[in-house]
């Protein structure tokens, strides 16, 4: 008789103990930093609120940094160097080399994402989209919150005013753009350009888009790469680069070169008919700053060259990933990966509401979503496009490429000569300091 109630009593006691033990888990506060992109922030905050409810012992302090990627990176790296870096942070994929080589981040804990093996985790992402977050050791160091590329935005209203059809007459090649330009360029009586047909992304203080993604990708289509195969010397002496810069120079001379108003702004103001940009440009800039323009927007794939294509690729890929700080305690790291998993669990919502592609295979296989998404064309154009090449001490690369463009466009230097200077600078970067 006694034994009959002893067993349930023990079970109740064990349950009570386990509940107490769980309840007594040390509370953890994790710092999470991200760059500024307002359409994404609201979704992040919703997910964090739910995450805190589901994990009452974890508190998340969410900090939004500057939208300017360079300033955000400066702040982040300084904080990491001072030992005050966040436990989880979102940063451009091009930082992966410097972060991994210095041991500042840890590889992805795929188990936190509910996978038994690293391969299973990698298989849940579109092929090639984790490459931008992979270290030289072959390990994946971040989960992408966004992988993107550029396509051609067309102002349908300006096309129609010029007697063109924004769909039928959309340029497919760089040469098409050059041929369309006279019809879409307007000048005032003094010869000032008041409407541009197209603008390349030029370097400048307000440049929203990276000049490298277009300039580098145009050269890549012709076989030009940043480095030689074993990354011991620059690759800018390739004919593909010279032809690309010559084309940009010739276009700028005829139809307008770098201007103080970046093309991202002049397109939104309705003063430029075509621009190269990412899907994020639609909600953040066009709908955010000139919603009246949005109904007239058409997008076309990133142009190719008419002849001599070596790589049939669109623009270089860019991406932002969630990294975990190696200086955080194991408990903080575990909590940070748990939060990263939560932030990666609603890719459909990020695509629908913020036009950000978290490249899970489930998203692309969702035909209904793809059919209705503005980003579908961008995603289709990603095939065959690699990430922007990176090296551990590659912080100077954007400056080197920008200057190669400016020497030719602003000072009239011969493209081959300008690229030779840039190539020497890249080769110097690849030599370890003595």
């Amino acid at each position: 008789m006694r034994k009959s109630w002893l067993l349930p009593l023990l079970a109740v006691l064990c349950l009570a103990l386990s509940i107490t033990a769980a309840g007594a888990q040390e509370p953890i506060t994790i710092q999470f930093w991200s760059h500024d992109y307002p359409p994404r922030e609201a979704i992040d905050r919703d997910i964090i609120a739910q995450f805190e409810q589901d994990n009452p012992n974890i508190k998340v302090e969410y900090t939004i940094g500057p939208g300017d990627d360079d300033l955000y990176r400066d702040q982040l790296l300084t904080a990491l160097a001072a030992g005050e870096g966040p436990d989880l942070f979102n940063v451009l994929a091009r930082s992966v080399a410097e972060l991994v080589s210095s041991g500042a981040v840890v590889p992805v804990d795929y188990q936190a994402f509910g996978f038994d093996s690293e391969q299973a985790f990698m298989d849940s992402y579109l092929e090639g989209t984790l490459e931008g977050f992979t270290g030289d050791d072959g390990k994946v160091y971040a989960v992408p919150t966004e992988v993107g590329n550029y396509a051609l935005f067309i102002n349908g209203k300006l096309f129609e005013e010029a007697g063109l059809d924004p769909v039928e007459d959309a340029p497919k090649t760089w040469e098409d753009i050059m041929e369309l330009a006279p019809k879409l360029t307007k000048k005032d009586a003094s010869g000032n350009i008041v409407q541009r047909a197209f603008d390349f992304t030029y370097p400048g203080p307000d440049a929203l888009m990276s000049p490298r993604l277009t300039y580098g990708a145009m050269a890549y289509q012709l076989g030009g790469e940043y480095f030689n195969e074993d990354k011991t010397a620059g690759g800018l002496d390739h004919e593909g680069w010279v032809r690309t810069l010559t084309f940009i120079r010739d276009y700028a001379a005829e139809f307008g070169g770098p201007s103080l108003t970046p093309v991202a702004a002049s397109f939104v103001e309705g003063n430029t008919a075509m621009v190269i940009s990412g899907a994020w440009y639609m909600p953040q800039e066009i709908e955010g700053k000139n919603p009246d323009l949005a109904p007239f927007i058409h997008v076309a794939p990133f142009p190719r060259w008419r002849e001599d294509m070596v790589n049939d690729a669109g623009s270089y890929l860019f991406g932002y990933g969630l990294y975990v700080n190696s200086q955080s305690s194991p408990e903080e790291q575990a909590a940070a990966w748990k939060l990263a998993a939560a932030l990666s669990s609603q890719p459909e919502r990020y695509l629908t509401e913020a036009l950000l592609l978290q490249p899970r295979t489930s998203v692309v296989e969702n035909q209904e979503l793809m059919d209705s998404s503005f980003a579908a064309l961008f995603i289709a154009d990603m095939q065959g496009s690699p990430f922007t090449p990176v090296i551990a001490n590659g912080g100077e690369l954007p400056g080197i490429l920008n200057r190669s463009m400016e020497r030719t466009l602003l000072e009239g230097m011969d493209p081959a000569e300008s690229l030779k200077i840039a190539n020497d600078e890249i080769t110097a970067l690849l030599q370890p300091p003595s």
Binding site: S102, G191, T261, N393, L410, P433
Partner: protein
Amino acid sequence: MTMQLRRRWSRWWDTFNIYHKHSLWGLAFVLPGVLFFIIFAYYPVLRAAQLSLTDYNLLSPPRYIGLGNYQFIFQEGSRFYKALVNTFEFVGGYAIPMWILALALALIFTQDFRGRGVYRTLYFVPIVLSETVISIVWRLIYHPQGIMNAAVAPLTGGVKIPWLTDSNIAPIALIIVAIWRVFGYYMIIFITGLQNIPGEYYDAAKVDGANRWQVFRFVTMPLLRPTTVFVVVITLLNGFQSFVYQFLITRGGPNDATTTLGYLIYEEAFPNLNMGRAAAISMVLFAMLIVLTFIQLYLLRQRYDT
């Protein structure tokens, strides 16, 4: 024995009190200031000197490379030379016209005329504004559709000047901003200097039959020398360290045309993560400014020796 020790101690303390009490108090009063300088001025200089001998990317520990960074910045074709030339051009273009303008206005505003106070205040206002605000405002002014192009339109026939996107014009555009911000401030300093010149000297010069130029050349200028030396040294130091306009208005561009040493230090340190190289450039700039300060001391000493 104990008594003897106590007596000795008491005697030492009395002697110490007589000779050193005042010194100790003085030391106590200056100690916070000295500590501040040691922590925030001298230590960073020494640390920068040490870092300049290393390869350091902020995230990995510094690695000693001797004079490698100095060899890099002094090698042929280095961006350092372009930044050095740009810095001298900026300092020369900003400082010399600014001295002349500030002194000319000071001479005008020491005369008696109606509305003098209002004009003085108007010229002084820009110095009150932050360089960040000024940079944003001037970018709008220099915009192709901005008021600067509207102002010069009659001269250019309506053709818009690319103020900030032409590598020959952008440095001049930044010089204009720099002068505009500070000339009113230095004008006030010159006015103070002019007002401190005793009137007797001018009376004596008049009695001797000196004309206006001679009065300016042989009375005003020599007696204004301490003020002039101060203005010259401060403007040169500020000019050599110029960074804000280059960062906020042009980001050192186009094609490095406005990259000064101050901006290059930032670019090497943060976007490029070459902390060692940035420290090496800082040390070169530091050496230049030390030389400048010695020249200032020499000029001041010459002033008081004569």
